[in-house]
């Protein structure tokens, strides 16, 4: 991977100017050791003595009345401990909302085991508890359900109908509007309208879900292991659902084999294992198998947009009017209406838009429930918005790059407040120089030269093209996060955060920030995350928030510890704190840096509770700090793609791909590049390969890794990454913006544009993923 990075970001406040020793360095990860040696602790690796295995029996039908369940044969099997049906869990409330609660969604919440009705293939209808996984599966196979089939709703764009007795398929409509849309359309030089769809796909981490619960009667604590992402919220809700005090429930995170939005939400199975551990008084382990995962864990992305734009003669946007249909699947889970809300709020992206109206029809279908997947609502709307921009350019005979330049919000317009909200906060684009990044990306890709070379190749009969897409991400969702930094008597540092890690390198990033602020080797910092027993509050890891929120809190806490250490040392050394600094964990005089005076561990010892120095003060070289934010930060970027289409088979080969991304400040550029490269591979999956397909009865067709096509090493080309730090965020001390989702955001958009270009037919691509058979049809139509 080639690197291209400017490191002229100013020094973070509170630290001396000059090059940073730790922040901004591509240091090796702290996480790697155990993972490379096979010593990780993933959910399925957690075991307790006397544990039983849970196996979930799932609905074989997409929609039907659940008449009865016969578990007698299963219960009679040796090794079976219990079998539960909906009747056994009737007292447990359904899975609650965490985000974007909209009135009217409550009746669509999911019970932990179905009662009366099944609504999608894969819905839990019974739980079997047995001595081991093999027996549990044998017994689950013997549980038989009598279900009266009902017709399945499968098209969210179909006219609304009745989903449940007295309840429609349309749970809500997400509406946002500003400006005079009607007037803009009346005054328009041209109106461009498109009908675009994105296929159903999702995060599909390589580790399936898993949960191990155990009740420790001696301490009266219920523990849940194998958790991810949102430990504190999940802890609070689990406690409420099963009727225990919050302090009597603790969640633990080990290693997580990828999150991507899917892992760590509160699912029915999490509640079932907790209930099992309490009722059976034995630890209960559940490990999802891959087939279950593909029908039971959150799906995402499926939307259809009917979008119209009004533009003036120069191609400037006057208004956008968008109606879209969000295919939610059979239940509304923890995310409420969030994905539809984000799609509606963030669709305008990087462009100046005087008037905007959107109606997002949030519809239920008899498919697996949907929620977030990396760049939720943005992968979809970047595809839609950038398709629209290309269509406008084609309509007016303008160069697509020039059209974007005319519409991009200027640097001098920042911060730019758009009168809409998303995720419950106003959209205020905090900083950015969009034009500059576009220019750098074009230069780096040699856009002009590429165009010439492609024209040449096309003249020689090849089907090749290039496309570009611009986007704005969002990151650092507040409102708050806290971190506690403590130095022990050996000089080692413990950093406790309410954040979580889903494998991105959170520990390393937080340790680097802490090390920079404190003046200590980052390898001496132990990061504790994802544990409710170590810190009272936390907002977890999602929405690219950790580096911004927990990173800022880490920075503040580490600076506080630094100040305490210097103050104590100054007393000891009879000097002022200003005359001292810390390097490599040792105090030294700024004037005589070659003479290390005392170690941080010495100071920690002197700050113990029995030290005379601490009389009347709170002991310990430790500080907890909180960082608050009312607004998100908005990183931005461009994707540039060049590809070749095999005219005869319709196969697409991506020849070159560039992601240019401004994230304000890169704490560890190597990890940022990793996020972008991995995000790109997932975006490519959604653009060309991955789709959850269903037949006419609502039977899922993508239930194995042979049918759900995750790109392998042979399909994913190397990606070029340009990390820019032109626009540090003014909203946090480090200037950082989250880097997790920019690699995924605009892949569908850029690939679609490049395919159009190769076909020489603007607007040819209207749907993702672009399967070879679709491409073959487009080629045939183009030839005609």
């Amino acid at each position: 991977m080639q690197r291209d990075r400017r490191s002229d970001a100013p020094a973070p406040p509170g630290l001396p100017p000059g090059p940073r020793a730790v922040i901004g360095q591509s240091l090796p990860r702290l996480e790697d050791g155990p993972l490379l040696r096979g010593q990780g602790l993933f959910a399925a690796d957690v075991n307790f003595p006397r544990q039983v295995t849970m196996r979930v029996v799932r609905s074989p039908l997409a929609h039907g009345r659940l008449v009865s369940i016969d578990a007698a044969a299963a219960l009679a099997m040796p090794g079976v401990v219990a079998v539960w049906t909906g009747a056994d869990t009737a007292a447990i409330p359904p899975i609650p909302f965490r985000a974007t609660r909209v009135r009217g969604l409550e009746p669509y919440c999911q019970p932990i085991l179905a009662r009366e009705r099944v609504r999608y293939v894969g819905e839990p209808i019974a739980a079997v508890f047995a001595e081991d996984a093999y027996v549990a599966e044998d017994a689950a196979d013997l549980v038989s359900a009598e279900i009266d089939p009902l017709p399945a709703h499968l098209d969210a764009a179909a006219p609304p109908g009745e989903f449940l007795p007295g309840l429609g398929t349309e749970a809500t409509v997400v509406r946002k509007e500003y400006g005079d849309v009607e007037a803009a359309f009346r005054a328009a030089h041209a109106i461009v309208a498109l009908d675009l769809s994105v296929g159903r796909h999702s995060g599909v981490p390589l580790e399936t879900r898993g949960a191990v619960a155990r009740y420790d009667a001696a301490r009266d604590v219920l523990e849940l292991h194998g958790t991810a992402k949102k430990q504190h919220w999940n802890r609070d809700e689990i406690a409420r659902l099963i009727g225990r005090p919050t302090h009597g429930v603790h969640l633990f995170e080990g290693h997580v084999g990828g999150g991507f939005g899917v892992r760590g939400e509160l699912y029915p199975e999490d509640v079932l294992v907790c209930l099992g551990a309490l009722r059976l008084q034995r630890p209960v382990k559940w490990v999802e198998d891959r087939r279950e995962h593909l029908v039971a864990a959150n799906h995402s992305r499926q939307q259809r947009h009917r979008i119209r734009a009004a533009v003036d003669a120069e191609g400037r946007l006057l208004a956008i009017d968008n109606v879209f249909f969000h295919d939610q699947g059979a239940y509304v889970r923890t995310h409420g209406a969030r994905v539809a809300d984000m799609a509606a709020g963030l669709l305008p992206g990087p462009y100046r838009l005087p008037a905007y109206r959107v109606a997002g029809h949030f519809r239920l279908t008899n498919k697996t429930p949907a929620a977030t997947y990396r760049a939720p609502g943005r992968f979809e709307t970047s595809f839609v918005r950038e398709r629209l921009m290309d269509a406008i350019a084609a309509r007016l005979g303008l160069d697509p790059v020039e059209l974007r330049r005319r519409n991009l919000i200027g640097r001098d317009e920042m911060p730019y407040a758009r009168p809409v909200d998303a995720l419950g906060v106003d959209v205020v684009l905090d900083s950015g120089d969009y034009h500059a990044l576009l220019d750098r990306a074009l230069a780096r890709f040699d856009w002009a030269g590429t165009q010439a070379r492609l024209a040449d190749r096309r003249a020689r009969g090849e089907c090749v093209g290039a496309g570009l897409a611009f986007f704005v991400e969002k990151s650092g969702l507040g409102p708050a996060d806290g971190v506690r930094v403590s130095v022990d008597a050996t000089g080692s540092v413990e950093l406790v955060t309410g954040a979580a890690s889903v494998g991105q390198g959170v520990e390393t990033v937080l340790a680097q920030i802490c090390a920079e602020a404190l003046g200590i080797d980052y390898r001496r910092i132990r990061v504790v995350r994802g544990r409710t027993d170590r810190i009272e509050f936390g907002n977890g890891a999602h929405a690219s928030r950790v580096t911004v929120m927990s990173g800022s809190a880490t920075y503040l806490a580490a600076l506080a510890v630094r100040a305490m250490a210097l103050e104590t040392a100054a007393m000891e050394l009879q000097t002022t704190a200003e005359a001292l600094t810390i390097r490599d964990g040792r105090i030294l005089r700024i004037a005589r840096p070659d003479e290390p005076l005392m170690a941080l561990g010495d100071i920690a010892r002197q700050m113990g509770p029995n030290s005379p120095l601490m009389r009347g003060r709170t002991p310990g070289l430790t500080a907890e700090r909180w960082f608050y934010s009312d607004h998100m930060t908005y990183p931005y970027g461009a994707h540039l793609a060049q590809l070749r289409i095999d005219r005869d088979t319709g196969e697409v080969r991506v020849e070159r791909y560039l992601v240019a991304y401004d994230i304000g400040r890169a704490i560890n550029p190597m990890l940022v590049e990793g996020q972008i490269a991995g995000g790109f591979a997932q975006g490519l999956g959604g653009a060309l390969f991955e789709e959850f397909r269903y037949d006419d009865e609502g039977q899922p067709l993508s239930t194995t890794f042979a049918d759900y096509l995750i790109p392998t090493m042979a399909e994913v080309p190397p990606v070029e990454v340009l990390i820019a730090e032109d626009a540090p965020s003014p909203l946090n001390p480090l200037g950082v913006k989250g880097a997790g989702e920019g690699g995924t955001n605009a892949v569908g958009a850029a690939i679609a544009a490049a395919v159009d270009d190769a076909l020489g037919r603007p607007g040819a691509v209207t749907r993702l993923p672009i399967a070879p058979r679709t491409m073959r049809r487009l080629l045939a139509e183009t030839a005609r």
């Binding site: 790697d32 096979g38 390589l206 084999g257 990828g258 991507f260 198998d289 392998t712």
Partner: protein, 168 residues
């Protein structure tokens, strides 16, 4: 072999150099034998139907999917798992070290299967091109990295294993 076949059998498998004897139900997969019976949980299960490669181990030096073998089939054979890659003194195998340097892993769930596959591959093909590496591990799905860092790490490890050039 008894005439009626057996439901369970006592087996002896040499795992990472030491002989492990255990009673194994005949339907127990090799992967579950390693993970559950021997508590070697470094071998991961990503699909249990032979597509993802996370469960790859070396059987008599050859990379195989342990979810597609029965434990009884490993009776009398040599199995090497991720736990057996580092040197006895604990120092990392050149592949492990290169994965760390090149950020060839994020969540690390695919890593054991990739490393075991690559150990065999680099024995067969000590000086591979990037294209050969991509083909060799196209049977290992990684959902996090986008793969390129894995290719870079492999090239560097190959160089180290050949003994030419110094590693940074």
């Amino acid at each position: 072999m008894s005439d009626g076949g057996c439901a369970s059998r006592s087996i002896a498998v040499t795992v990472n150099g030491s002989v492990c004897r255990a009673e194994a139900p005949v339907r127990l997969t090799l992967s579950d034998f390693l993970r559950q019976t021997l508590h070697l949980t470094g071998t991961h299960l990503g699909c249990e139907h032979g597509v993802c490669g996370a469960c790859t181990v070396l059987v008599d030096g050859r990379a195989m999917r342990s979810c597609l073998m029965l434990a009884v089939q490993a009776d009398g054979h040599q199995v090497t798992t991720i736990e057996g890659l580092a040197a006895p003194d604990g120092s990392l195998h050149p592949l492990q070290a290169a994965f760390c340097r090149h950020h060839g892993l994020q969540c690390g769930f695919c890593t054991p299967g990739l490393l075991t596959t690559l150990v065999e591959f680099l024995k067969d093909c000590p000086d591979p091109t990037a294209a050969e590496i991509r083909e060799a591990i196209s049977g290992n799905i990684c959902r996090c990295t986008g793969y390129d860092s894995i290719v870079a790490a492999t090239i560097e490890a190959a160089r180290a294993l050949r003994g030419d050039g110094t590693t940074p």
